[in-house]
């Protein structure tokens, strides 16, 4: 768990996927959300990774068609 209520870019991005997967405890979630809201660079990165995650998950129905 992140001890303080503020985090820097590195700390926020180390928890990026936990943040997007919704696996963070509420205090960490709030701290990272606050950082992302204030940091343009991190916000852009989060938005792209969120898009990537949705794109991967949208392929769910085609997983059975994967071929060697």
């Amino acid at each position: 768990m992140i001890a303080t209520t503020t985090v820097d870019c590195e700390a926020a991005m180390r928890r990026l996927w936990d943040f997007l997967d919704g696996t963070l405890p509420p205090p960490d979630l709030a701290a990272i959300r606050a950082h992302v809201d204030e940091c343009d660079a991190c916000r852009g990165h989060v938005e792209f990774e969120r898009w990537l995650l949705l794109a991967i998950r949208s392929a769910r129905g085609d997983v059975g068609s994967l071929k060697a």
Binding site: R14, A41, G44, H45, A55, R57, A59, L66, A68
Partner: protein, 197 residues
């Protein structure tokens, strides 16, 4: 008062319970097997082996528990044994999650137009190809969590690895898919030439 679920004792009853509880997951297991084996014939063998082992070990199945997860674990273990027999399965070290390089890579892709290019492309085929190309053990973890919708904890149980290992493998797998997509954008010719910027 604790209710103890009665398990069948006759061969007919066992078969009936197996058909009722395990067989409905045949499709999901077949998809998982195909995603692991990446070969239709190997996947068929894997499914057959999975259900054979499941039937033989049906007495170890805890009545009322998650049968799909139980079958996935058997399937995964059968796959590992298959790969070990074929001497092709290699476990890799994970390293750290390289958080800041990922941010820098994204910033570079924003600057040179690859991110914008992706928005104009049908990325579904590229994602399927990228997922298919993932090496083990990253392929399995991405399939389990992102495609089969298992939680980190469920994936850890299926693969019999710590949750922290699930996390690091999954994040690295997603980064590999991301790198493939950015390369796809570049290959599609949508990336501005360096001299144009």
């Amino acid at each position: 008062m604790t209710t103890v679920m009665q398990r069948p004792t006759t061969a007919d009853d066992i078969s009936g319970e197996f058909e009722r509880v395990a067989l409905p997951h045949l499709g999901a297991v077949a998809r998982f097997a195909l995603s692991l084996a990446r070969d239709a014939a190997d996947a068929d063998d894997l499914v057959q082996e999975t259900f054979l082992r499941a039937f033989r070990g049906w007495h170890t199945y805890l009545a009322g528990s998650d049968a799909r997860r139980w079958l996935f674990t058997i399937c995964r273990n059968a796959f590992i044994r298959l790969r070990q027999r074929q001497a092709r399965f290699v476990e890799s070290d994970e390293g750290d999650l390289d958080a800041l390089p990922a941010v820098a890579e994204h910033a570079q892709a924003m600057g040179d137009g690859r991110i914008a290019a992706l928005a104009t492309l049908d990325v579904r085929p590229a994602i399927l190809a990228a997922v298919d190309a993932l090496p083990e053990p990253h392929h399995s973890i991405l399939v389990l969590v992102d495609l089969e919708e298992h939680s980190y904890e469920e994936a850890a149980a299926v693969l019999e690895i710590p949750v922290g290992t699930v996390r690091s493998r999954l994040f690295r797998a997603r980064r590999m898919v991301q790198a493939s997509l950015l390369a796809h954008a570049e290959d599609a010719g949508l990336r501005p030439m360096r001299g144009d910027r």
